[in-house]
Assembly symmetry: C2
Homo-oligomer: 241 residues x 2
């Protein structure tokens, strides 16, 4: 079976939650560069802090202090806290959504009427996991941020906006792979898949402690090796009796 692969995974890096490095630049160039620098550093730091403490657990002063700018500058660029939060979400959610949509469309074009559950799940899951592996610390911070957000009522509403199209694309392919299934079975199966994915992205370190150090929250490669296969078998087990 030909499996789609958008991203070639780089050698497994070692990721820990890490505060973005803000000491580097601050070298003044053009205004446009200054603007872009400030915005990016604010987003990076906010992403990290929100991922660990949630919307209400972060103050704009925390963000500004870590970036090394004054609080009011955060307002200048992002209006208020809620807008900053949504900007953090939007920045990478769009990339993740688009990458997976492309992978699913490619898979669809290649397999036509006879997709497999595992193939569709690989296009959906592996493509996303590869993004984090290739993206380094900042993307790993976004992963934890997004996972945390997804388990909240307001967060789930944000997910709707950014991820409904790609999820419904996946669901469409799964329906073709499982033509005898009810829509409910497909949706509940997806519900299990996304839960497992979010638990992976959250990287709480729990599996590390639970397994006595055998498994590592950061080891998305280990997850990638097992997840699509595991979930595909789960879907097949729901076969209507």
């Amino acid at each position: 079976m030909e499996l789609p692969r958008l991203w070639v995974p780089t050698p497994a890096a070692k990721f820990e939650d890490a505060m973005p490095d803000t000491k580097k630049k601050r070298v003044v160039r053009s205004k446009a560069d200054q603007r872009a620098d400030s915005i990016e550093q604010i987003l990076d730091v906010a992403e990290y802090l929100f991922s660990r403490n949630g919307l209400h657990g972060v103050t704009l002063r925390d963000v500004a202090k870590q970036v090394g700018i004054h609080t009011t500058l955060v307002h200048y660029y992002f209006k208020d806290k809620q807008h900053l939060f949504e900007s953090v979400f939007a920045r990478r959610a769009g990339v993740s959504s688009a990458a997976r949509m492309t992978a699913l469309e490619k898979y669809e074009a290649e397999t036509g009427d006879s997709p497999t559950v595992e193939g569709a799940l690989r296009a959906f899951l592996d493509t996303d996991l590869d993004l984090y592996v290739a993206g380094g610390e900042n993307w790993m911070n976004y992963a934890a941020f997004g996972a945390r957000v997804s388990n909240t009522p307001e967060g789930a509403a944000l997910m709707d906006v950014y991820f409904d199209p790609v999820v419904l694309k996946l669901v469409g392919i799964l329906k073709r792979a499982l033509p005898t299934y009810s829509d409910e079975d497909i949706f509940w199966g997806y519900h299990f898949v996304t839960g497992a994915l979010m638990n992976t992205l959250a990287r709480t370190g729990r599996i590390d402690r639970l397994s006595g150090g055998l498994c590592h929250s950061d080891d998305f490669t280990a997850v990638r090796e097992r997840m699509a296969r595991f979930m595909a078998a789960g879907f097949l087990s729901l076969k209507p009796r």
Copy 2:
């Protein structure tokens, strides 16, 4: 196959996120009763509010106001916010953990050397899901609270304390059911299972909207019908090659 069933599920109730009713009592009886009443109402309201807004998104004033008491009374009974938060977690986490431990031990006693993956997962998952179905609104609020907590770094540490023993018991049985498997495969499989469970307990309403109303976040019975089977098949698919 005989599957363990600790709790007889009551007819599927319709659950929505609901603020605990605090208008009822406040009828004074003994001091001990007054104390118990206040503590319980504070915990119920805090559970609901924390589940929707997180630790930092709730003020003690919010809690006190909803209960209809003065803020200082929350301090009187719970010292500070952190202690209140942990008390909310502890109250039902202990019940959930004990119920599942009992179910797993019973299953172990019945099946001895030849447990099945699905049987073990039913003792672990269905027992928990039944608690929420039988427990009504307050338990449903705890479900969302716990799921939200589980995706945070501090929350995951709380999970360690309350749930490590029962999870390790499950893992032990799974190892006997899958003697050729590596420990890593078992732990990663559990990682997927708990992610799917947490996504269920979170009840964000996302699956409702995504499915166009076909599925309901509150419908733990629908999840119960599919989850153990789905996850068992997933485990079996990881068979060492």
